[in-house]
Amino acid sequence: MTKTGFLLASLAASLMATSALAQDITVKIGVLNDRSGIYADLSGEGSVIAARMAAEDFGAAEKGIKVEIVSADHQNKPDVASTIARQWLDQDGVNAIVDVPTSSAALAVNEIIKDANALFINSGAASSDLTGPACSPHTVHWTYDTWALANGTGSAMVQQGGDSWFFLTADYAFGHALERDTAAVVEAAGGKVVGTVRHPFPGTDFSSFLLQAQASGAKVIGLANAGGDTINSIKQAAEFGITQAGQALAGLLIFITDVHALGLQTAQGLVLTESFYWDLNDGTREWSARFEAADGDKPTMVQAGVYAGVLHYLKAVEAAGTNEADAVIAKMKEMPTDDPLFGKGEIRADGRKVHDMYLFRVKSPEQSSGAWDYYETLATIPADKAFRPMADGNCPLVK
């Protein structure tokens, strides 16, 4: 046993020695997300697969860049996320931390990365504070944020006549940010917020909160929660006859895996905002088919964002010729982004990646042609309208 171990170790050492000769730059990418809790299906191992696909598609090996990908489970807890991030940065030499769903965990990593020689490419978390008051020179917020969700779904609902709102809010950083940003959109469009209830995260039984929402008489019940919480809220709203009685549900953050778990029968008609859907164009279909072959499910926008973010990061490493954080982030912001999943876009000075967002409606079982055929596109929100203007974000970097 010891002998084999020794042989393996020396073999590995000799391999590393040869590769060090052949290659110029080594980058270590840490995928930090939820691997066992309520966000594990929308990020989890799928995000690791996406990061690996990015390294392969980029052709890192041929370009003299050695990419190593590690992953860990932050259990949706900010303290666990901080501990892992510190260990990765201080001891393991990780150059970029990617994904990190759960806004409270993402904000914790964001604080640590500010002064570190590493970058944070966030795909999974939603809080728009990441490019607002909490913005950091080393953070890129790739896929979506609470402002973009509020702007898409919130204004669409108000336009359809839903001018009084009651919020069902997950009681942590993400829920608060999503509620705040949506309330601003609703009020700007002439609507009003008649009430809010904050539920513990994660929750199981939402009937009590839904009944309070029903009693408020609001036309729209805004679900400022995500993942399993949203699934249960929607399921129980149908059970208690809330939607049948005329109140509309606004799922402010719904992922395709949520729709898959709900089934079209329950989810049909929901209006939602996302930045990615597998069936948008040839580029997304081709990539998603490859992803599905590896993962078993179609990708979520979070997993797509990990792919595109890592791809752009590697391009910037190649252009900068180093893995030094400041040089790479300068290149990332200087070079326009271009990938098959989000199309052309850019990263703003405050770290916000901008691209088109889409307003989708969930198909009815009759409209759907089969597994994963879930969305019809209602509107494309152009990149310059989809995200909060930089001047409104209060990001200290751009003042």
Partner: protein
């Protein structure tokens, strides 16, 4: 309109009823735990996983074999209960002579393994399971819309709880069980097969968890973590009621459901904590629990 504590009475009645519904799940789960602890002295940490397994087996019966809800209500507790019996024979039975802690660790490990396996296979987002057509729809009670299915949950769990209490406290079989808890050697000397009785009791406790799982499948998302989320609360319920007290676990289960329901109205942020606050107070004032006897 008059108000009660700042809340219209209709809303209050509605919330109390919802609390009762959640309380039914607490009651039936804590009952299983109490039965197992009372007779086996095992702290069954796998109870949440067995509840989750109940929901999953119901889903499997429907999707792989086309067996619907009503048969599942009967078949699932038998299947999962049998699985519990196998576990008891193969593993748990080896720990009776050791400290409680070993049983707790073993069952906790088993729970993690069962959860991990199902997570690997089915993911975390949950699987859809529909309400049976006979119980779809609901009644307008004036103060709230009560889905028929939720009403059924309260009735079914009350019936099961009362039946269990009756068997254990009022029948000859129950008397044997209680006697075996007090002094297994003496009861064995009277010609009663104590080990078999203990095995069947564990199987019954597990079957109760599985029954609750089937009840929960149509209303909560069927996912591998559904038991882990609930089991901690249920343990608090058992501690408050008094470890091993049958009546205590039933009454506190429903009672705490009500308290939690009220908290959701007055201060929703605290609704996940309130049960533990009560547990701390009860432990300070009456360490054996509300219905427990001091050892």
């Amino acid at each position: 309109m008059f108000e009660l504590l700042g809340i219209p009475p209709q809303a209050l009645f509605g919330q109390l009823l919802l609390g009762l519904i959640n309380g039914s799940f607490y009651a039936i789960l804590s009952l299983g735990l109490a039965v197992i602890f009372g007779l086996l002295n095992i702290i069954n940490f796998a109870h949440g996983a067995q509840y989750m397994l109940g929901a999953f087996v119901a889903w499997m019966l429907l999707n792989y074999l086309g067996i619907g809800y009503w048969w599942a209500l009967l078949i699932v507790p038998i299947v999962v209960g049998a699985f519990g019996i196998v576990l008891e024979r193969l593993m748990i039975a080896r720990l009776y002579h050791l400290d409680h802690l070993y049983g707790l660790l073993l069952t906790f490990g088993l729970a993690l393994i069962i959860q991990g396996l199902l997570r690997n296979q089915y993911g975390i987002s949950g699987l859809p399971y529909s309400i049976p057509p006979q119980l779809a729809g609901g009644q307008n009670l004036g103060f709230m819309f009560l889905p028929n299915y939720r009403g059924w949950v309260v009735v079914a769990s009350l019936a099961v709880c009362v039946a269990t209490w009756f068997v254990i406290e009022k029948t000859r079989l129950g008397a044997y069980l209680r006697a075996a808890t007090e002094n297994p050697t003496l009861v064995g000397a009277f010609g009663i097969n104590v080990p078999r009785m203990i095995t069947l009791t564990y199987g019954f406790g597990v079957a109760l968890a599985a029954f609750a799982g089937v009840l929960a499948a149509p209303v909560y998302s069927v996912n591998p973590n559904m038991g882990a989320d609930l089991i901690i609360v249920v343990f608090a319920v058992v501690v408050i009621g008094g470890m091993g007290s049958i009546l205590g676990s039933i009454v506190t289960g429903f009672g705490l459901g009500l308290v939690e329901g009220l908290t959701k109205v007055f201060y929703p942020e605290a609704s996940s904590v309130v049960i533990f606050v009560i547990m701390a107070i009860v432990l300070l004032v009456k360490p054996a629990g509300l219905f427990g006897r001091a050892a």
